[in-house]
């Protein structure tokens, strides 16, 4: 299994070997570009599979078959939907702020690409290994708030505007507990680098040490990607489709791709921070463990979406500010106390 684990590293070394100097800038550039292309492939594949999986899980949760016509058991449904979207007219409303309206879905689509590129997928398999991994991830993922507001504002439609406003209110509220819940892990590992955090979990995944942080991050993460029960932003029964009301064709499809990409990125970060990333018992290679854990988290998110009704807006804000925020501060305090006792009173480690 060690050979399988090291296989991607060996392939990478072989590609580097093609260059005269394996550590020249061109070799680095090539490796970066290959990594980025793999990330793009991952996002497109993830979106295709997840959209189908979502409908299948929805069918399973509400006891109906789900898509079952196209291909074996309906497996080609998403591909047909994607092809259909390519041929649909791209309508820009006459009253819209055209530039903002047009670039908002592109930003939403670009963000998961930026965030997924810093996640460690396996031993030494980080497309871009940043020392500031967590900070970078949080900074980039926060931009999606702006993109949704741009979509809402740019559409110049009442429903879109309401959706955009809700998006900002909800996402900035849940960002605070989300950021605080990761503090505990940083306090334990003393690093921002995601690959070092995964290495620190070789003995024990942080979900055992930081269960409260995991729950807070999970809830806030679902709220950040605007999924039910926190889908106030695009609540179909109230405001049609929120910021996406005026979008058609592939431009709307970009929102969809971005949404599922963001969901994958959130699940990937949960896996990295709390579930030990690619670490796992040795009978499977690291990358398989990684995607297995990501899959479980995504399945949980889908299960929650199809099980719980939408929250009321005052409950939603109350949950973020009055429950999750104090709890995440408490988690920081408890982690600090724990490390303090561990290090200075018991004098272990350090």
């Amino acid at each position: 299994m060690d050979a399988l684990n090291k296989l991607p590293l060996n392939i990478a070394a072989a590609i580097r070997g093609l260059f005269g100097d394996p550590h020249s800038i061109w070799a680095d550039l090539t490796m970066t570009v290959i990594g980025i292309i793999l990330v793009i492939v991952l996002i497109v594949l993830a979106a295709l599979i997840l959209i189908l999986l979502e409908r299948k899980v929805g069918g399973w949760a509400s006891q109906r078959p789900g898509p079952n016509r196209l291909g074996p058991r309906g497996w080609f449904q998403t591909i047909a939907d994607a092809l259909k979207l390519l041929g649909k007219e791209d309508v820009t409303p006459a009253e819209a702020d055209r530039f903002i309206f047009k670039i908002a879905p592109m930003i939403v689509f670009a963000l998961p690409m930026m965030t997924l590129a810093v996640i460690p997928y396996g031993m030494g398999m980080v497309p871009i290994d940043l020392d500031l991994g967590i900070i970078y991830y949080l900074a980039i993922s926060a931009i999606s708030t702006l993109a949704l507001l741009m979509a809402g504002w740019g559409s110049n439609s009442n429903y879109s505007m309401l959706g955009g406003m809700r998006a900002v209110a909800q996402m900035i509220s849940y960002e605070i507990p989300l950021i605080f819940s990761l503090l505990g892990v940083v306090m334990i590992t003393q690093t921002f680098s995601l690959s070092k955090i995964v290495e620190a979990q070789s003995t024990i995944p942080f979900i055992v040490i930081q269960p409260l942080a995991f729950v807070i991050y999970f809830i806030a993460g679902i709220a950040e990607v605007n999924r039910a029960p926190f889908d106030l932003v695009e609540a179909d029964q109230e405001i049609v489709a929120g910021p996406f009301t005026e979008y058609t064709g592939l431009r709307w499809g970009l929102f969809f791709l971005g949404e599922y990409g963001n969901m994958t990125a959130t699940a990937a970060l949960i896996t990295t921070m709390f579930l030990g990333g690619w670490q796992g018992p040795g009978f499977l290679p690291g990358i398989v463990w990684f995607f297995l854990k990501v899959g479980i988290i995504i399945f949980l998110m889908m299960w929650i979406r199809w099980t719980f009704p939408r929250m009321r807006v005052d409950h939603l804000m109350g949950l973020a500010w009055k429950v999750l925020l104090p709890l995440s501060l408490l988690n920081v305090l408890l982690t600090g106390l724990g490390i303090y006792i561990y290090q200075y009173v018991l004098r272990i480690g350090g």
Partner: protein, 119 residues
């Protein structure tokens, strides 16, 4: 991979280019027949009542934004602290909890004044 932020720059180029390339596809494949009725804003079949949706917004949003700003700035201070927490020892430990306590007083005030209530 020494200069990783150069790699982020390359990533940024890809992230900008890919959606633009993707949006070229419907330009080639999709029909484009604009029509005055089609280009109006969607309001469930009615004529849009107002010409524009760019109007004022609920002041609640503003209250949340202010509290958010306070806590977001706090995270800027907390992350470097968390990074060096184990090296700095008792002093940093106590000092940071004084800092958090001061912020919690502000938080308690905002809560008491009803800034966190959705009305």
């Amino acid at each position: 991979m020494s200069d990783n932020f150069a790699a982020v720059g390359v990533l940024l180029i890809f992230a900008v280019a890919l959606p633009v390339i993707m949006m070229l596809m419907p330009k080639l494949l999709a029909p484009n027949k604009p029509h005055a009725e089609k280009l109006t804003a969607y309001e469930c079949g009615n004529e849009p009542l107002a010409k524009t949706a760019w109007r004022g917004f609920k002041s609640n949003y503003f209250m949340y934004a202010i509290v958010f700003t306070a806590f977001d700035v706090e995270t800027v201070f907390l992350y470097p602290w968390a990074l060096t927490f184990r090296k700095l020892g008792t002093f940093a430990f106590i000092e940071m909890f004084i800092f958090i306590t001061i912020l919690l007083v502000g938080f308690w005030y905002a809560w008491k004044e009803g800034a966190l209530e959705w009305m």
